[in-house]
């Protein structure tokens, strides 16, 4: 492998490309060649360096200098200054941002990187860089030193549980699939990460695809599988691309195919791409989709370990579960088990989003509290507003209020609090979020994504959505809360798969923790967070208004009247509550009541 003293990464996001980043890349190469630097400085392209708002942008490593607003004429000067004279060109330096937009920033003190250790550090499209970071050495150890049963033992002692959300012990799945009769056996990697706000798996697939492939080969060896599939969602075009490259490189290196490392173990891996259906993240639906059918879940048992893909024993794990495996083999199950709580070992990646200062990807040891995640890792609430709730576990998870901030994040504690671990989405909400609106929003999502096979999920969630919409529109009826509770219980009990069984969670958790907000909507016809349009009014304060007429000019329905330099008024009969007047007012005179 060639070594370079410096690397330049040019953003190849469509937005930067549209602003000419590929010309920048070309000019960089030309200028570097002019100064004979092309053997010292490598030019690469990669997506999402910054927010792309001020593209084209580039990043220079090892210094980590971020340049924005580049034009192709600037490159000659930049190369001379940066690489010949070692000076930073301040003119193009990206200003430090108030809240960071990057997906994966330097870890804070509370973070531990296991699954994400290589993300952003190695070139995902070059297998040699992964090998240089101990890549595929775990596989070599496993094949040369351990029997399949011993591998399962190591995974058992590590305490690793499924990172897809349910937390089923990984070794058990492997053990059951190994024990099941039927040939051939299959293994599948569930990379159909569809939970809104969860993009941890995408980062691993795009940043370190070989860790997942290595984990899968080890799993295949332990189970006795000869064929594997990675099922990746079509919404992740970059992940699909890096996976294709990674699989072909692993094949070229003899790490996939016949007689791996000269042993009699053979294993092949193929990539399957989804076509846009959230429910395909459910394992039986995913199997259906690989077989070329509608992605509809079926009843379990029999579990895929016994009757899975094409009717054969199949082991199916999540991306993050597989990515943990090589590290467990290299560093030992004791090391892995030393992190986390009694029943939840290791680390977990989360995608922190919403009203928190530092959004993006984090990896923390299990057992960390929500408080530490929101304030120490996430830097607290944006614009110094007040924390209201944190939603964990995606659309089938729950919203937890401030009083739960000291809750440790592990499978059991979250479940006991009425939420779930899920795949790892965390949405932080500030005081200006209406919890009824959020519940309605999640129900709309579930309604959309329900496959329609079973009645409780198909019709039950529709009824719930109708009730929630009614409440948000100020037409809630006194019995609505009881009906919601009744429907929640029935849907939870009677649905076929995890989607339906988890569907009522956002409603149950908001009803439990934010009951008064539902009551305010129904009985007082008031939205305490001032979000639900039907329940708010806009008012102009006579003290603050200077009569500049700006609001009246911008009102799309001419609901604002008033003379120049006199207080204006809003006609609530005409007003459509679009909020434009509040946005344009320079004197903060428009209030929501």
């Amino acid at each position: 492998m060639k070594y370079f003293r410096s690397h330049i990464i040019v953003c190849n996001d469509p937005e930067c490309v549209s602003k000419g980043s590929m010309e920048i890349l070309k000019n960089l190469k030309i200028e570097l060649a002019k100064h004979n630097l092309n053997n010292e400085v490598e030019v690469l392209d990669s997506p999402r360096i910054g927010s792309c708002g001020q593209g084209p942008e580039i990043m220079v490593y090892p210094e980590g200098v971020h340049y924005i607003n580049l034009k192709k004429e600037d490159i000659s000067f930049l190369v001379e200054e940066q690489f010949l004279k070692g000076r930073i060109v301040t003119k193009h330096l990206a200003p430090p941002t108030q809240h960071e937009e990057v997906e994966l920033s330097t870890p804070t003190a509370k973070e531990v990187r296991v699954v994400l250790r290589n993300c952003g550090k190695i070139d995902p499209e070059n297998i040699e860089e992964y090998i240089a970071e101990d890549g595929y050495s775990a596989l070599a150890t496993v094949i040369s030193k351990y029997l399949p049963e011993e591998v399962i033992d190591i995974v058992e002692r590590s305490g690793l549980r499924g990172r897809g959300g349910a937390g089923f012990p990984t070794y058990k799945k492997w053990y059951l699939t190994r024990k099941a009769s039927g040939n051939p056996k299959y293994i599948i990697c569930n990379a159909d990460e569809g939970d809104p706000g969860a993009f941890m798996n995408r980062s691993v697939l795009e940043g370190d695809p070989h860790s997942v492939i290595e984990g899968m080969i080890i799993a295949a060896y332990a189970i006795g599988a000869s064929q594997g599939y990675i099922y990746c969602r079509a919404e992740y075009p970059i992940a699909v691309k890096t996976l294709k490259i990674a699989i072909s490189q692993a094949k070229a290196f003899g790490l996939l195919g016949a007689n791996i490392f000269g042993s009699d173990f053979s294993f092949d891996l193929d990539l399957r791409i989804g076509a846009g259906a959230f429910v395909c993240g459910e394992e039986t639906a995913l199997i259906g989709s690989i077989e070329g059918r509608r992605g509809e879940p079926r009843t379990r048992p029999p579990f895929p370990a016994e009757v899975g893909l094409f009717g054969k024993p199949t082991n199916i794990n999540n991306v993050e579960t597989y990515a943990n495996i090589p590290q467990i083999i290299i560093r030992g199950s004791e090391w892995f088990a030393s992190m986390g709580t009694e029943k939840s070992k290791g680390t977990k990646t989360f995608a922190l989003a919403g009203d928190v200062k530092k959004t993006g990807l984090i990896e923390v040891p299990l057992g960390i509290t929500l408080q530490e995640i929101v304030y120490d890792v996430g830097g607290g609430i944006k614009n110094d507003k007040k924390f209201k709730a944190i939603q964990t576990g995606g659309p089938m998870g729950g919203c937890l209020p401030e009083s739960y901030l000291d809750l440790p994040v592990d499978y059991e504690s979250l479940a006991a609090a009425g939420s779930i671990m899920g795949s790892g989405g965390m949405v932080v909400m500030d005081e200006e979020t209406c919890m009824v609106d959020i519940a309605r929003f999640f129900m709309e999502f579930i309604q959309d994504e329900s496959c329609g096979k079973c009645v409780p999920c198909r019709i039950g969630t529709r009824r719930m959505l109708e009730i929630l919409t009614r409440i948000c529109n100020g037409e809630g009826k006194p019995q609505d809360i009881d009906t919601l509770k009744l429907l929640s219980d029935e849907i939870k009990q009677d649905s076929l798969c995890g989607l339906g069984q988890g569907a009522p969670n956002p409603v149950i958790s908001t009803l439990t923790h934010f009951h008064s907000e539902y009551e305010a909507h129904i009985f007082e016809k008031r939205c305490p967070a001032k979000v639900c349009r039907a329940l708010i009014r806009y008012e102009i304060s006579s003290e603050a208004c200077v009569g500049c007429t700006l609001c009246a000019k911008n009102c799309p329905v001419d609901a604002i009247s008033g003379e120049l330099r006199k207080t204006h008024t809003i006609d609530t009969e005409i007003c459509i509550r679009c909020g434009i007047c509040k946005q344009v007012c320079n004197y903060n005179a428009v209030r929501v009541v």
């Binding site: 996001d13 469509p14 937005e15 549209s18 999402r48 927010s51 792309c52 708002g53 937009e101 990057v102 997906e103 990460e193 569809g194 939970d195 809104p196 706000g197 969860a198 993009f199 995408r202 079509a234 919404e235 992740y236 075009p237 399957r272 791409i273 989804g274 076509a275 846009g276 259906a277 959230f278 989709s289 690989i290 077989e291 070329g292 059918r293 509608r294 992605g295 094409f310 995608a351 989003a353 919403g354 009203d355 959004t359 993006g360 990807l361 939603q391 659309p395 989405g425 949405v427 909400m429 979020t433 959020i438 929003f441 999640f442 999502f445 959309d448 994504e449 496959c451």
Partner: protein
């Protein structure tokens, strides 16, 4: 020149190409449909008939798959497709305002195609770029941190 007849021929060619690329097996149905959908824009009824015959799969099953997945279209769509992320992080960071602004700007509702055949507007589930919410995609291009003000600038790039 575009005629009904040579259009039909292209479609036949695309289907042949897809089946050659994947395999003449029922489990390759989804990759084949995705390929044809991408190349031809959508999946007209005679495409489904032909694929069903080639794969020895009932036409009802081919249609059931084609109508199940969001990314497969059984009706013609516009030259450009706008996919707007409707997930929670986008929703709480200003996505709602952007959504109303898009609808107003191109005068379409969710799932509609404009009469001039330029735009199709659809809401999609999480695109996984939540750190730059709100996010939307036009064809294969991703746009993050979208605001109602930036929207016309983005839309204008497309002919």
């Amino acid at each position: 020149m575009y005629t009904e007849k040579n259009n039909h021929l292209t479609l036949e060619n695309i289907i042949d190409e897809a089946i050659l690329l994947y395999d003449e097996k029922p489990e390759e149905l989804i990759p084949i449909l995705s390929f044809v959908n991408k190349k031809f824009g959508f999946l007209p009824p005679h495409a489904l008939t032909k694929i069903s015959r080639r794969l020895h799969t009932p036409e009802s099953q081919v249609l059931s798959v084609a109508s199940f997945y969001n990314m497969l279209f059984t009706k013609p769509i516009g030259r450009h497709i706008i996919r707007f992320c409707e997930s929670a992080p986008c929703h709480v960071s200003g996505g709602r305002q952007v959504w109303s602004a898009i609808k107003e700007l191109i005068n379409l509702e969710d799932g509609e195609t404009s009469s001039d055949g330029k735009w199709t507007l659809v809401k999609v589930s999480c695109l996984g770029i939540c750190a730059s919410a709100p996010v939307m995609m036009i064809d294969d291009d991703v746009f993050g941190n979208v605001t109602p003000e930036r929207l016309p600038l983005i839309i204008d790039q497309y002919q």
